[in-house]
């Protein structure tokens, strides 16, 4: 492999990147260059208990690790793991059910028959994933009224040594 060959590859890649980024700027379908996590409304335990219904809001509300643990201990909500079956099987918050986000549309009927007025806490891997936010949005669109996101997810829960299940 000579140097010119590698340089040409770099030029082609850089040219393509430039074209892609330029097109993205002018295209009506353009997206942000770097995805950012959607900002959610933070909710404490008191708010959660007094007014769990947030169906009128565009985004789901968010709870932190401490609140998630208290809700879990008191049995105030069903926990929903939005990751795939494999990760769910490896380890999950104790008692959590699995609603994988990636094939949500394929199982709409099943989710439609769930009790939509219960409290649901959706989570995924941790701070770096947005599956829980996407899934919460889809659940709200389907008519679930009390959907919350635990954004610390599996990573925080596991690190805190809170109760878990696995297959």
């Amino acid at each position: 492999m000579n140097k010119q060959f590698l340089l040409n590859i770099v030029y082609i890649l850089l040219g393509s990147a430039l074209l892609g980024i330029s097109y993205n700027v002018i295209s009506p379908n353009g997206i942000p260059l770097f995805a950012e996590k959607t900002q959610l409304i933070k909710t404490g335990l008191d708010d959660f208990i007094t007014s769990p219904n947030n169906s009128e809001e565009n985004t789901a509300r968010e709870i932190d690790l401490k609140t998630a643990f208290e809700i879990h201990q008191k049995g105030l909500a069903k926990f929903v793991d939005g990751r795939d079956e494999w990760e769910y099987g490896e380890g999950r918050i104790a008692g959590a059910i699995n609603i994988p986000d990636y094939n949500f549309e394929d199982h709409i009927d099943k989710y439609n028959s769930m009790d939509k007025s219960l409290n649901y806490i959706v989570y995924c891997g941790g701070e770096d994933c947005d599956i829980s936010i996407r899934l919460a949005k889809k659940m709200k669109e389907l008519g679930f009224t009390n959907v919350y996101v635990f954004s610390g997810g599996w990573d925080q829960w596991f690190a805190a040594n809170f109760p878990v299940d696995n297959d």
Partner: protein
């Protein structure tokens, strides 16, 4: 076999097939970066931060390499890029299969809802064989 693969006609046919597949696939994805970004996310290997930039750039690498391949420019370079992409795609498909993800491959944007699986792997291997043949048997144009 070698003489068949290295014949000008065969290489031309390979170039045209690869070029059409990559230009077509790239344009479909470039037109809807938000959909492709979600398809990228479904493979669960790239962080949220990088997901959009990958979804914006990769389709254009496919389009540009495809066009250059069609016009016979920098054949070795472009067949290398396309082969590396195909190897990467197959690793992604394979890991998704091993994890039991039945996700849309996102290969041609939203127009085909092809699920990742053995068929996809075989298609990619066939394209990869064409890419490697072009790399191996085409003349270097580096000094043009």
């Amino acid at each position: 076999m070698t003489s068949f693969l290295s014949s000008n006609i065969t290489l031309l046919v390979f170039r045209i097939i690869l070029a059409i597949v990559f230009i077509f696939a790239g344009m479909e994805k470039a037109a809807n970066p938000a959909d492709f970004s979600e398809a990228v996310a479904n493979y669960r290997v790239i962080s949220l931060f990088l997901q959009n930039i990958v979804a914006i750039v990769i389709p254009w690498v496919e389009v540009v390499s495809g066009i250059l391949l069609l016009y016979g420019k920098f054949l070795k370079e472009n067949s290398t890029i396309i082969s590396v992409l195909l190897i990467a795609f197959n690793i992604l498909v394979l890991q998704a299969m091993l994890r039991g993800l039945d996700i849309d491959c996102g290969c041609f944007g939203t127009i085909d809802a092809q699920i990742v699986g053995f068929r996809k792997l075989l298609e990619n291997f066939a394209l990869l064989a064409m890419g490697i043949s072009i790399f191996r048997f085409s003349k270097s144009e580096t000094n043009d």
